[in-house]
């Protein structure tokens, strides 16, 4: 028994030996299980598509992408990140989906002195005074998702709103972000518990309050539950929902179907964006995976393309030329599927937020169609507190 244990251990050690030096290793800590597993799946598939397009390279450099599932558990996320850093020697960490994983993975990356590029979660703690020169957010700063909904709600002429968010930090941030821009009156505000499935009580309260619109931020399955029950209650046609890009994306649309018809939401990307990079991405993604890309897939793809542009600029050097790599990342000289892409001084993007409406296409299939920019060049509220100076 002891001998076999030792042999197994020896096998594990041999496997763990560092690989050849030319390949840049990228560690992806992402969420592939639980009900929210599809978010990580799309980010991963988008990212790997970009690698595949170049035949295993990014920006001309061989890359090895290590993907592991954090199960949305911080403890697991930390284990994986530590393994990536110490066993595999990754130079770039990416993949984090949820805001309860960022605060365990990012400090490890910071301590190890490697780059951290988040394709999704970007909490306010790392956008203001807590910003860092090696921390890059590709998708957004979390709040802007919801700030843009505030802007859109004004544009749509809604004088008052009933607002609702899951009872956790990101939910509170969402409500704060919405209120920051919304000019109308708030006629009701509710915080259902995370993971709640039944919304009859909340829907009754909404019916009672008779608001002009409803805005809600209920992540993953919660939002699907609510949208379905809202439609069942017959309110879908009378009190419109105005949602964030996280509340209405293609996978959620796929789950709720026709009940989402005419729902307006904001997004920084849409599958129908008319630029070359996006057309190639959407076609390539469909060919590779047999499904349409979601906004998360676009974020994974953009993350890979951004890294590719920096690798190209430094000739494949990451940690050997940290300044060079960082400057190239800041320059963001790549063809984003969003069209233009640029970072603010806190290394979070300044996005153009569009209005996106659920419509039927010529074949009767439901699609998210872009309806023009509502919040152009929306900088997040925290950048001013970030002390990063790019010219140093």
């Amino acid at each position: 028994m002891k001998t076999t244990t030792m042999m197994a251990l020896a096998g594990a050690l041999a496997f763990a030996a560092p690989a050849a030096a030319e390949t840049v290793k990228i560690g992806m800590v992402t969420t592939l299980s639980t009900g929210a597993g599809y978010l990580g799946e799309d980010v991963r598939d988008g990212f790997l598509l970009a690698v595949k397009e170049e035949g295993g390279k990014l920006g001309g450099t061989d890359v090895e992408v290590l993907v592991e599932d954090d199960g949305r558990k911080p403890g697991t996320g930390r284990q994986i990140a530590q393994r990536f850093i110490e066993r595999d020697g990754v130079e770039i960490m990416t993949g984090v989906i949820f805001s309860n994983i960022s605060p365990v993975v990012w400090p490890l990356a910071e301590e190890a002195g490697i780059f951290y590029v988040t394709p999704n979660s970007a909490p306010s703690a790392y956008a203001g005074a807590g910003c860092h020169e090696d921390y890059f957010a590709v998708a957004w700063q979390n709040d802007s998702l919801h700030e843009s909904v505030g802007v859109l709600s004004n544009d749509l002429g809604h004088g008052n709103a009933f607002i609702m968010a899951a009872n956790y930090q990101a939910g509170k941030d969402a409500i704060a972000g919405f209120k920051r821009y919304f000019k109308g009156e708030i006629v009701g505000e509710l915080y259902p518990a995370l993971g709640q499935t039944d919304y009859a009580a909340e829907i009754a309260a909404i019916r009672d309050a008779k608001p002009a619109m409803v805005y809600h931020f209920l992540p993953g399955g919660m939002g699907i539950n609510f949208i379905k029950q809202y439609a069942q209650a017959g309110l879908g046609g009378t009190i419109p929902q105005v949602l964030s890009g996280a509340g209405m994306e293609s996978r959620i649309l796929g789950a709720v179907g026709e009940t989402a018809l005419n729902v307006a939401s904001t997004s920084h990307w849409s599958a129908d964006f008319d630029n070359e990079a996006n057309k190639a991405f959407v076609a390539g993604f469909e060919a590779e995976y047999g499904r349409l890309p979601s906004v998360y897939a676009s974020q994974g793809y953009d993350t890979a393309k951004l890294i590719a542009s920096a690798l190209k600029a430094t000739g494949g050097k990451v940690l050997e030329d940290k300044d060079g790599f960082r400057n190239a990342m800041r320059a963001a000289d790549f063809a984003s599927v969003r069209g233009e892409f640029r970072f603010n001084n806190n290394q979070h993007p300044i996005n153009d937020w569009i209005n996106q409406v659920v419509e039927k296409d010529a074949d009767g299939a439901l699609v998210l169609r872009s309806k023009g920019i509502v919040a152009p060049a929306l900088a997040d509220a925290y950048a001013g507190e970030c002390a990063l100076d790019w010219n140093k």
Partner: protein
Amino acid sequence: MHLFAEQLLNGIQLGIFLYLVAAGLTLIFGIMGFINLAHGSLFMIGAFLAATLTDVTGSFLGGLVLAVIATGVIGVVAERLILRHLYERDHLDQVLVTFGLILFTNELVVMLAGRAPQFFSTPGWLNGSVEILPGLQYPVYRLAIIAVGAAVALLLYWIIARTRVGMLIRAGSTDRETVEVLGVDIGLIFTALFGVGAMFAGLAGAMAGPLVSVEVGMGEGQLILAFVVVVIGGIGSVHGTLIAALMVGIADTLGRAFVTDVLRLFMAPDTASGMGAGLSSMLIYVLMAIILIARPSGLFPVQTSRH
């Protein structure tokens, strides 16, 4: 006042739904003394199958019926292959094996159906609201759940209390040897009973499909709530389960609807909404604690020899 009536009705409806989830659990627990954590997995399987089969058959009712039957078959297969070996073993083994089944089923569903939440179409006639009292609109689908739950409750009561099978079941749960002496294959009855329990789980899942996100792990939260219901009601008591389910449903809904408003009367709105949400999510557990202090075997304990 309308709002209160509507919320009360919502509570009753949630209670009936919880009863649907808990009915199979209490049947298998109460009569066979078997603790089945994978009940939540059967709930999930029912929802996934109903989503797919509704799509294939183009009919909600067709999909529902087929999904319920298929879940029952899956339950019977699981019982024959694995679970029946556990009847004579202690609860701990039952908990662990069915826990392993949860891990297995979740991953299998991911492999077969993918990670994205499934689409579930409901027919138009079940959408929308009707006016059940002047000025009180209520969703048709939720009324349908109440109807199905009531039907299941009546059916279960009739089977257990009035039929020969029910008598055998009641005898089997208390005195296995006597029944076997009578020449009845109790093993077969248990298999059938497990199948029926699985069908109830599948029915609850399929009925939930149009209202909730059909996703991996969707049954686990329901499982815990069903446990609370069964513990409050008294394990194996069919009417106890119904009453407990209604209590939990009403407490939970009214908590969510009014606790925050009550708190707002004497604290800042922000604190009130945060605290209200926390309090209302713990409310049913507090309810359970209070009931267990008064009655450690639930409200309607059943006398059996197997637990």
